[in-house]
Symmetry: C2
Subunit: 409 residues, 2 copies
């Protein structure tokens, strides 16, 4: 059961002019599953992406980077579940290209105008023939209001689809933003997560897009973790179709541009948090805020140290305020000159640790009360500066072990 994650409703999601989406059952790994999704983009859309920093990056990630670098307008994306096409060597690369070529041929565009994405099991050969055979059906099914279907089409161990929408006014025009994501396991994005797609009909100068997608990823997908495993396939793509009729945004000055960026960031953050809320076996949604650091980087180190600790995560699962485990994780985060006597720890409003030791007024029942909640904020004050960072994670439960001990069977 995901943690406070609403099931998206099609009526709540704005279509994005210039984007149509089709989904089909191609039998990639199992029968009777929506496992093949195509995004069809009208001419003139701008597309930017950020991808996994895992050096064992998947074949489709390599091809995405190539095709984006080629500089032609991107006209389509193809996403399969059931197979990650990672650890597949030269054959995997050839299969990713073959998929792009097949879709390009169907659409009458060039291979470089197609971006491929895969998610699923690593180190197994991509059943490229079944994917290619499924493309016509996916294209035929393409519609503008298919975002919920797409969110379903990219799921693997996710228990429910993830999609959010926003609209904002820019220069008297209504601009729409809609995005989807999937996650569940092998989640510790480094640049982006497998998979997030965010589209807007806003006209945004193409040269702003790459910086924007990085900024959005840093405020969203790059701040979540489930198990610390950075996937081979993480991809986050931002599409601007320029169909809203607004005057082209050429910088982020001005209230309306800021409001648009905030809305984009809002959707990206909700999509990233949705991945945590639906993390494998998750029963709690944990916000880890680290404040008072010398640099944002050291705050991130501490936040991830807490968010990755199996001991901290099992304590959250048990609703056990065994909070010394958090202190241990702060201590081994890698800040060489950390002074433990300066550290404070809060669990929501409860002041647990003062000056590095147990706060004399802390009572176990107060910690227990917060630990029982489904949403908990851990706040660590390092007492060494003004920097801060936040990451989001979930607990580590029996179901995480069950899901990952059984995933392939």
């Amino acid at each position: 059961m995901p943690v406070n994650l609403p099931v998206p409703v099609a009526a709540d999601l704005f279509p994005v002019a210039g984007v149509r989406i089709g989904v089909t059952e191609a039998g990639v790994r199992k029968a009777n599953r929506k496992d093949l999704t195509v995004f069809l983009l009208d001419e003139g859309a701008s597309v930017a992406g950020v991808f996994t920093q895992n050096r064992y990056c998947a074949a489709p990630v390599q091809v995405c980077r190539e095709h984006l670098a080629a500089g032609q307008d991107i006209r389509a994306m193809v996403i399969n579940t059931g197979n990650a096409n990672a650890g597949t060597g030269a054959a995997g690369l050839a299969n990713a290209r073959k998929t792009c070529a097949a879709l390009a041929k169907e659409l009458g565009v060039s291979e470089q105008q197609v971006l491929p994405f895969s998610t699923g099991v690593i180190m197994e050969e991509l059943p490229v023939d079944r994917i290619v055979a499924g493309l016509p059906a996916a294209i035929a099914a393409a519609k503008a209001d298919n975002w919920v279907v797409a969110a379903e089409g990219i799921m693997t161990t996710d228990t429910q689809p993830k999609a959010y929408s926003r609209s904002v006014q820019v220069g008297g025009k209504t601009v729409h933003i809609t995005g989807i994501s999937k996650g569940a396991g092998m989640i510790r994005p480094n640049m982006a997560t497998m998979l997030g797609y965010l589209a807007t009909d806003a006209a945004i100068a193409p040269e702003l897009l790459q910086g924007l997608v990085k900024e959005l990823a840093d405020g969203s997908f790059n701040r979540v973790t489930i198990d610390g495993d950075t996937s081979t396939n993480d991809s986050f793509v931002l599409i601007a179709t320029h169909k809203a009729g607004n005057e082209v945004i050429t910088n982020w000055d001005g209230a309306e541009a800021q409001a648009l960026k905030a809305a984009l960031q809002d959707v990206a953050r909700l999509l990233a948090q949705a991945i945590v809320r639906d993390g494998e076996g998750a029963t709690k949604f944990i916000t880890v805020k680290v404040e008072g650091g010398k640099t944002e980087e050291e705050c991130r180190l501490v936040a991830y140290s807490i968010a990755h600790s199996p001991l901290v995560k099992t304590a959250f699962f048990a609703s056990d305020p065994n909070l010394g485990r958090i202190l241990a994780a702060v201590g081994y985060a890698g800040i060489a000159d950390l002074d433990q006597t300066k550290i404070d720890l809060y669990l929501d409003d409860v002041h647990v640790v003062a000056d590095g030791g147990r706060n004399p007024s802390y009572r176990e029942e107060d910690g227990q009360r917060v630990m029982k909640q489904q949403e908990i904020t851990v706040r660590v004050l390092l007492g060494r500066g003004d920097a801060s960072q936040t990451v989001w994670t979930c607990d580590l439960s029996h179901d995480y072990v069950s899901i990952n001990a059984d995933y392939r069977s």
Copy 2:
């Protein structure tokens, strides 16, 4: 059930002349538990230690460092379980000193000649009065052949005691080595683990001891991990009592000195591996060898990345050859210029990955056969140099979650 870990038998453990050990039930946390252990050292013993690099180090770790730095002969060690005396601020430091002072008074030595150690729950006040009250009984129980009892006395969530012995000939004299350790959870030692004690009656020049204890830790406790959580209390202590009658060893040249060092390393490694074999919920013992790196440091990064991956560890638990997860962990280990097309992966004798992709001759049933074993070696060849490193770890099972969700209750 620990993985292939024999229960130590008192008759197999050599006493070390100059070391007596006493254990009692002090009621530190729960009644009817051996929870207080004292080591009494004859005058003239040399002692060196390495301690956790966790910046939230426990009060006893801070006091150990001070007392070792003070340069007086160490005459006693006192170890309690049930409470880590970490995250306890100034009061915790005072309690650690009070424990040392009380034992020093009983023995007629100075406070600086006593080393304190604690293990158990973090952030709770040390019940120092119960510990002090228990000291006379522990001293009265002290005997030279109490090593198994001591190994039991320092256990927390360990399911069985850990102790090993060796003897070697040095200059016509028989030199004895005996050591004990405890572990179970919060195990990713960085310098040493909570707790390891190794004693020898060999005469070794005191100025060699600190370098030796570091070298031993690097080849043993610093190569194991259970959950990646570096404890606040890790301590590894080496004692040389100089009672064996051998000519003092002043350097490591020569076959006999090398044999002594090898025996010390052997015992340290077995003690460290015993911690993994008895890791919380462990059902498998995994050796991760990384070869062909440019530096030992990058090999360690890769080995720990594999050994800490919850996805890799749950796959081992399930005996599922979902080996792409190992590739993903190699990829995110942090080697920026890693070339995935150079990587080979072996599972014991089975060649799984060749040149970065699935080895064409790899058959799933071969991987399955190895994954079902209780002892498995993962060998990764990076193809970039001649460095190599090995770490030892265990799988991640339901019992790990159960144990850590219930630990304090």
